[in-house]
């Protein structure tokens, strides 16, 4: 326990949450994301027990949990053929020695029961080297069609207990699915699970669509479409796909919409006579308000999670830089100060950082900085990286990466905020402009 004294306060607090479950040894099973992880934590997850009618779900759910955890780069699965013990019953005593022998630090066991249109998934997480459960068992129930979501919920619980952070696996991503040649790209809106599964197309490709954004509750999507012949922002109900235009003003272009944290306001760019400024509009009843008034380009606004401030980009200084202003508009202060150009700022859901696209010396980067512009950190570099979106826990960023040349194509990548674990999201075809949903209920 002397170890505890050396832990930073935030970490100690997080540990306290776990203390109820494993008072003496919680510090053994611990990943601190801020410090980065050089060596992923080894874990074992045998196929879940079939407690009746589970069929393939017993194995498939365990596989999705394993994929979620290993996909973070923080965990490494010990494959089943290395396991010594067989888990034969959900409540059977755990042979800790067998799992210690293969150096599994965490063990996840589970069981699935299916009957009719109901499926029940339950799991335990064990701290192998301290020889006890980490947290209590949990159970999820739903229709068979939600089996992947239940697996993601198991993985979220495991991730949270070990990292002390909120989870992000049970979430969706709305994006633009692309096809066709570079000079005649077809674009349509699609949503998928965060890992690329369960793709659903929301529009056809008869009109260019750009940069969709989820509402704070994930039930609506804002996006820009050329459906009227000219770029305008639209609001779509995810449930029934009903779509309407917002704030239409003849002779203007509207684009780059984003919700306020309470979901009641859209902030966006409106272009008139070649000049783009930032405006806000109440989604329910209009009331268009102009927040910036400058002859330069003002765009890509994003609210702070408390709704009090807006970060945006402007080229008022001569090239693109990031600025923060009050949510009501008015004086803005510049926060970006490094070399190169900065665009597409997005406030972290935790409120502590701003992610952005940076262009410098012919390369594109995704980066993060504190909300005052300090501690800038570039996470990626390529021919064209742009448009970051935050995972619901503020620990992972997804973005668009486009390759160069005539055959260039866009794809989705994710990276954690330490710059580690860069990976491509598998999509059916080319994809761009991802936006992460909140964690699903």
């Amino acid at each position: 326990m002397t170890f505890l004294k050396h832990l930073p306060t935030a970490l100690a607090l997080a540990l306290a949450c776990l203390a109820a479950a494993a008072p003496a040894h919680a510090e053994r099973l611990r990943i601190v994301i801020d410090e980065g992880v050089i060596e992923p934590m080894p874990f074992a997850i045998p196929d879940f027990i079939d407690e009746g009618g589970a069929g393939d779900y017993a194995r498939n759910i365990a596989r999705v949990v394993a994929s979620d955890l290993a996909g973070t780069g923080l965990f490494r699965e010990i494959p089943a053929d290395a396991h010594i013990s067989r888990v034969t019953a959900f409540d059977a005593p755990v042979a800790y020695g067998d799992w210690q022998a293969i150096n599994a630090q965490a063990l996840i066991t589970g069981a699935v029961q299916a009957s009719g249109d109901r499926i029940v998934v339950k799991f335990y997480l064990f701290d192998v080297f301290s020889g006890q459960p980490l947290g209590e068992g949990l159970q999820f129930a739903g229709t068979p069609g939600t089996w992947r979501r239940m697996a993601h919920k198991v993985a979220d619980a495991v991730y949270s207990r070990i990292t002390g952070e909120g989870g992000y696996f049970d979430s969706r991503v709305v994006y633009v699915a692309e096809s066709g040649p570079k000079n005649q790209r077809q674009k349509r809106l699609a949503v998928m699970d965060y890992d690329g599964a369960n793709v659903q197309y929301l529009t056809d490709s008869s009109s260019i669509v750009l940069a969709p954004r989820f509402s704070p509750t994930g039930d609506r999507i804002l996006f820009t479409s050329y459906a009227s012949g000219f770029p305008q922002i639209y609001l779509m109900d995810v449930g029934n796909l009903a779509t309407r235009s917002l704030g239409e003003q003849p002779g203007t272009m509207t684009f780059a919409p984003r919700f306020s944290p309470d979901g009641g306001t859209v902030v966006f760019s409106l272009e008139r006579g070649g000049n783009s400024d930032i405006y806000a509009l109440d989604i329910g009843g209009g009331n268009l308000r102009q927040l910036t008034n400058a002859p330069s380009i003002e765009t890509a606004p994003s609210f702070s999670p408390d709704g009090s401030q807006i970060v945006f980009e402007s080229d008022r200084s001569g090239n693109q830089q990031l600025y923060v202003m009050s949510a009501g508009g008015g004086e803005a202060r510049r926060i970006s100060g490094g070399k190169g150009r900065y665009g597409t700022p997005v406030w972290s859901p935790r409120g502590d950082m701003i992610a952005f696209t940076k262009q410098n010396e012919g390369r594109f980067h995704i980066g993060v900085m504190r909300t005052d512009g300090s501690e800038e950190r570039l996470l990626t570099a390529s021919f064209l990286d742009e448009g970051p979106t935050w995972a619901p826990n503020g620990r992972v960023i997804m973005f668009t990466r486009e390759s160069a040349g005539a055959g260039g194509a866009a794809s989705l990548f994710s990276v954690d905020i330490t710059g580690r674990n860069l990976r491509q999201i598998t999509t059916e075809g080319a994809a761009s402009d991802p936006a992460w949903s909140p964690l699903l209920p």
Binding site: N183, R185, L202, S228, G274, G343
Partner: protein, 175 residues
């Protein structure tokens, strides 16, 4: 020698782009939600004979339907103003035509910024044509940002052609 086929391809591509772009005239339902078509309103009028000075093809090729811009800029060069003066003269003598000015950017920029930049470029052309006596009521502008490059290589030779504003003719001024 290799320039000729390329130039022909370019002209062909322009022709296709000019009559085949559903987004320009598309009157589809908002968002095309749920897979409904929205393909109505495509203008398929012919381009005519480029040797006929009253044809769209003549405007596109001989008068010049486009002007190019420097990186991040929307300032009209002397050469661009020359082209636009020619466009204005042609439009003065062909009052039946309305125009849509399309502003474009190269791919070296973020999506939103490029939309705004394309709008700036289209507006610069519109303002110049107004200064040359073309009625604002005959003109509309639209920005495609970096969504519709003309050239697809990722080199300055292509970028230079993609940073453009294109004046697209359509029948029905004052409609």
């Amino acid at each position: 020698m290799t320039l000729l086929p390329k130039a022909l391809l370019l002209v062909a591509a322009l022709g296709l782009a000019a009559c085949n772009n559903p987004d320009r005239y598309g009157a589809g339902g908002p968002g095309g939600a749920g897979g409904q078509g929205g393909m109505g309103g495509i203008d398929s009028s012919g381009l005519g004979d480029p040797s006929n000075p009253n044809s769209i093809a003549y405007f596109n090729q001989t008068v010049g339907d486009r002007v190019l811009f420097a990186v991040d800029q929307s300032t009209l060069s002397g050469e661009a103003r020359g082209v636009l003066a020619g466009q204005a003269a042609w439009l003065q003598s062909h009052p039946d035509y309305a125009i849509i000015i399309e502003g474009h950017a190269d791919e070296q920029g973020t999506r939103e910024y490029n939309l705004a930049l394309g709008a700036r470029r289209a507006a610069a052309v519109q303002d110049y044509l107004i200064s040359q006596g073309i009625a604002p009521s005959r003109m509309k502008t639209i920005s495609y940002g970096k969504e519709r490059p003309l050239e697809v290589c990722s080199e300055e030779a292509c970028y230079a052609k993609n940073r453009r504003a294109v004046t697209v003719l359509s029948m029905g001024a004052g409609a």
